[in-house]
Every structure is written in structure tokens, then in C-alpha cells.
């Protein structure tokens, strides 16, 4: 199969961006990615845009706002969607576009402007990421879905609220070093444990943020990638898995079957295993989600995720550094941008451009991006030569 690489990356500042609209945020990210690889918008053959919900953008066709503002027309652009995994759908689609021969250089762009609506409305929109017909009627919010997973995980494996809080401490530790992060501040274990209850047992610091932001990744064929200034970061494996819409129909409430499936497919395609991963960005929309991710990805055995964080094995100097960009927890979670932003961070890590957050000698990286309450998960594996 032909090789395809990430050649340029860009990330807008994440946060409450009441200074900018969605398309203006997308422009910030796209411009940075173009400058990163020395290309102009005229050099891009095709674009793929990820936004999770029209209800944040008040548009039937949010992707049109982006290509219009970038002056990209009349070339191809369309929107892809996979709830909180929409960004990874853009990368997967960009990869497929190049692999099919339809284009050589593709811009994958993700954006969300979540603070355009108030918090109860944002909470409602996000709640529809789960089963809006059979579970939302019970008032289950987005944190609520993961609280159901957390309670089941705690009951079966003895995972503790302290271990969840330790995850928040780690991710805020790294978010404090990341200039694009929404919340650039350290959080103590005591503060995390005593924060306001959101959905029992998840507290404020167990939850990711309602953020605005955009991220952009430019992918290119091997031939084009080798002409560009930065060292290519090769896309080695792409896995995509799904699970039931309703949580009630899941075989195991402590795992995301679609995530385990996606990981297996990405490992098979790349010939890379969990022990080979040097750095990972996983979907910590809630602290429990990062624990479940460790287990679904094979970074540890089932039920051992809590111990992995307790032993600090996922810090930058640990056995398998995870979310050293702050994760969704501290960097923020502008839904459509998140999967693209994970690839931005992994590319920077593999190039050695991650500054104080750099994992030494990182050669192989992984992204794990979950949509909704686990209905869709993408796992992508990247490698520098």
C-alpha cells in the first residue's frame, strides 16, 4: 500500500474564545498548518471538515463556512461526523482520499464553537451524543453516561475516586505547560476530590471542558511528503470500531467494545503493538474514560487502569506517557477539533517539537478518539522514520 504522511499541523488556542467565530478559529488552525509545511491554500487538492453538531454552529452546512473563509472554493470540501470522534473521521477520510488517488495533498480540519450556546443547552446537545430516544429521557447527561461506566468499573475492579482524581492531576499538570490549552493550571488531588459533584461519582475535575477551538492536519502522498520541509510522520494504522447506541445493550459496561476493536485493527494494519507505543493521546472526556482507554488499548490488563495512573506509569517519564498535552481534561474538548488536535500533538511529539512536554526519543505515537458514549472509536498509529 502507498505510504501517506502528516506533513503540516496547526492548532488554534482552545478555550472560551468569545473573540472569534467558528470559521475564524478554523482559519487560525489551517493557516498554522499551511505555514508549518510551507504550502499555500492553492496547493491543497481537497479538504475534509469535521464538526460534531449543527446545533453549536447554527448551520445546516458548517463545512461551507470553513472553505468559504479559507478561499478554497471551487475545490472539494465536505463534512464528516462521528460525534466527539469527528476529527478522527476527517483524518481517516483524508487518508482514504489520498489512498484512492483522488488527491495528493488533503487538509483535515476540525472545529467547534461550543460556547455560542449556554451551558444547559450545551449539556443537552452533548447528551444527544448518547441514545437520545431511550436514555436522554432519564435525564442522563453526557457526564451521566460516563458516570454509569465509572460506577460499574468501581464495583467490579475496585477503581477508586482517588484514582480518578489522580488522572485529573496528571492531565492538568501537562495542560499547564501547553500554550494552546483551555485551562493552563495545576490542580491538587485535594481540590479534584472536593470539587462539585456533576454526575455521581464524577466531579467537576473529572470532566473535560466545554471549549471553542480548531485544529488542522495536512496529509500528503509519499511523493509529495518527501518534497516538503518537515520530516514526514507516517500514518501506519487506522482502526475504527463501533458499539451499540444504547448503553443498556452493551455486553460489558466497563469497556468500550468498539475501542478494543479499533485498537486491534490499527495494531494489525501497522504491525505495531501496545508495548511499542512511545506516546499516546487518548479520549479523556472524563477521567474514567482514560482508565478504560488504557485497558481497551492493551496498555494494561482489564481492571488495572486505576493502578497504572496510581503508579504514575502514564506520566512523561513513565512506561507509557499518555495525554502529556493536557488531554481533553485540561487542553479542552471543542468536539469536532479534538481528534485532529490529538494528531497535531502526536506529530509534534514525534518531530521533537513538544517543548517542555516532550517525551524523550518518541518514535511511535497513537491517538484514541471516542464518539458519544462509545458508539464510535478511532485509533490511529503514527511513526517517524
Amino acid at each position: 500500500m502507498m505510504r501517506i504522511a502528516v506533513v503540516g499541523v496547526g492548532n488554534s488556542k482552545f478555550g472560551v474564545r468569545d473573540d472569534a467565530s467558528m470559521k475564524e478559529l478554523a482559519f487560525e488552525a489551517a493557516k498554522e498548518a499551511l505555514e508549518d509545511c510551507g504550502l499555500g491554500i492553492k496547493d491543497i487538492d481537497s479538504m475534509v471538515t469535521a464538526t460534531a453538531s449543527d446545533e453549536f454552529s447554527f448551520a445546516l452546512q458548517p463545512s461551507a463556512q470553513m472553505h468559504d473563509y479559507l478561499g478554497f472554493h471551487p475545490k472539494p470540501n465536505f463534512r464528516v461526523e462521528g460525534a466527539c470522534a469527528s476529527g478522527s473521521m476527517a483524518i481517516r477520510t483524508a487518508f482514504m482520499t489520498i489512498a484512492s488517488g483522488l488527491a495528493d495533498v488533503v487538509l483535515a480540519l476540525g472545529a467547534e464553537k461550543m460556547t455560542e450556546v449556554d451551558t444547559p443547552t450545551a449539556t443537552e446537545i452533548m447528551s444527544k451524543g448518547g441514545d437520545s430516544v431511550w436514555e436522554y429521557p432519564f435525564g442522563v447527561s453526557f457526564p451521566g453516561y460516563y458516570a454509569l461506566i465509572a460506577q460499574a468499573h468501581m464495583a467490579r475492579y475496585g477503581t477508586t475516586e482517588e484514582q480518578l482524581a489522580m488522572m485529573a492531576v496528571k492531565n492538568h499538570h501537562y495542560g499547564a505547560m501547553n500554550p494552546v490549552a483551555h485551562m493552563q493550571k495545576e490542580v491538587s488531588l485535594e481540590a479534584a476530590l472536593s470539587s462539585m459533584m456533576i454526575a455521581h461519582p464524577l466531579k467537576l475535575y473529572d470532566c473535560s471542558l466545554i471549549s471553542d477551538g480548531a485544529a488542522a492536519v495536512i496529509l500528503a502522498s509519499e511523493e509529495r511528503a518527501k518534497e516538503l520541509p518537515k520530516e514526514p510522520v507516517w500514518v501506519m494504522g487506522l482502526g475504527l470500531g463501533t458499539d451499540s447506541h444504547s448503553m443498556c445493550e452493551r455486553g460489558d459496561l466497563t469497556s468500550l467494545a468498539g475501542a478494543a476493536y479499533a485498537a486491534q485493527k490499527a495494531y494489525e494494519m501497522s504491525g505495531i503493538g501496545p508495548d511499542d507505543i512511545d506516546v499516546a493521546c487518548v479520549h479523556d472526556c472524563f477521567t474514567i474514560a482514560e482508565i478504560v482507554a488504557y485497558e481497551d488499548l492493551g496498555f494494561c490488563g482489564k481492571g488495572e487502569g486505576g493502578r497504572l495512573i496510581e503508579e504514575r506509569q502514564t506520566y512523561a517519564d513513565g512506561r507509557i506517557p499518555v495525554n502529556v498535552d493536557g488531554g481533553l481534561k485540561s487542553k479542552g474538548h471543542p468536539v469536532g477539533a479534538t481528534g485532529v488536535s490529538m494528531a497535531v500533538e502526536i506529530t509534534k511529539q514525534l518531530r521533537g517539537e513538544a517543548g517542555p512536554r516532550q517525551v524523550s526519543n518518541a518514535e511511535i505515537g497513537l491517538t484514541h478518539n471516542v464518539g458519544g458514549s462509545g458508539q464510535i472509536t478511532a485509533v490511529h498509529i503514527f511513526r517517524r522514520e
Binding site: 451551558t119 444547559p120 443547552t121 449539556t123 443537552e124 452533548m126 447528551s127 441514545d131 437520545s132 430516544v133 431511550w134 436514555e135 436522554y136 429521557p137 432519564f138 435525564g139 442522563v140 447527561s141 457526564p143 451521566g144 458516570a147 454509569l148 461506566i149 465509572a150 460506577q151 460499574a152 464495583a155 462539585m196 459533584m197 456533576i198 454526575a199 455521581h200 461519582p201 464524577l202 444504547s246 448503553m247 443498556c248 445493550e249 455486553g251 459496561l253
Partner: protein, 147 residues
């Protein structure tokens, strides 16, 4: 009103009779007459054999609690609950919600009213029952089984 009496959002579905059964006190699943697969939430079409000849079957109402939560920051529909007193912004304690398993792989979600989450234990027995609400909507509640 149609199915939105239960679901809030969706009016039209082939399984709208679910609401009528609820109103008569019964929680129903659908079973495929072709292959026997049973579904809750109910479905009009079988995902196993693609058959559409499905029958309503009542499911047991008792089961063990698999998991639960209590939502303190509710979504829009629950955030705007009217205050019971004029000039008051009384904070209404949110109701816990849980999932029980009544048969292998048949799970029912429901509210667990008037219960302190600290006293709820996963693995204990609950009974599911429909409950008619003052506004005409209908939902399902889970009550701890005595003893």
C-alpha cells in the same frame, strides 16, 4: 401525543405501542418470530436475521442493579424544572438513575426516586414499573425490592 410522551424528542416510530403498554403498567420487549432474538429497547426489525415479523412480549420487572448515577448538572429539559413556590428558586435534588438486568442481556433504565446515592448498592435487587407524570408524560422508575 405519540411516542414523545416517553422519549421527549421522537414522535414517530413503528414501536409506538410501547407507550400504550407502559400506560397499562407493562414494560414490553419485542421478540423476532423468525429467530427468537429479544430486544429491549424494543425494535420493529430484527438485527440478527433482518426479519420484521416481531411480537410484543412482557419482560420480568425484577433484576439486579448493574450501575447507576445521579446527575447534578442536568441537561436543558431537566434544568428548567418549574419552581414549586412563587419567588423561590428552590434547588430540586436530582433523582438518581440506574440500569437493572432482568434477563440475560435485557436491561431496563429507570429513575430511582427519593434515594440517597450513597445508599444504592450495585448488585442489589430492584423492581421496574411505569409511572405516569402529572404533565401526561410517562416514564419508568426502579424501586429497591424489600428484604
Amino acid at each position: 401525543m405519540g411516542f414523545e410522551r416517553f422519549s421527549l424528542f421522537i414522535k414517530h416510530t413503528k414501536i409506538r405501542d410501547f407507550v400504550d403498554y407502559l400506560e397499562n403498567g407493562r414494560i414490553m420487549a419485542k421478540r423476532c418470530k423468525g429467530c427468537g432474538a429479544k430486544y429491549y429497547p424494543p425494535r420493529a426489525d430484527c438485527a440478527r436475521c433482518l426479519g420484521s415479523d416481531m411480537e410484543w412480549v412482557e419482560i420480568p420487572s425484577e433484576g439486579k442493579l448493574l450501575t447507576f448515577t445521579q446527575i447534578f448538572v442536568p441537561p436543558e429539559h431537566y434544568a428548567s424544572a418549574p419552581s414549586p413556590m412563587p419567588f423561590s428558586r428552590t434547588r430540586i435534588e436530582p433523582t438518581p438513575v440506574g440500569i437493572i438486568e432482568v434477563e440475560e442481556r435485557i436491561r431496563i433504565m429507570g429513575f430511582i426516586p427519593k434515594t440517597d446515592p450513597k445508599k444504592i448498592r450495585i448488585g442489589t435487587s430492584f423492581r421496574a414499573a411505569p409511572q405516569l407524570l402529572p404533565d401526561g408524560r410517562i416514564t419508568i422508575v426502579l424501586s429497591p425490592k424489600e428484604g
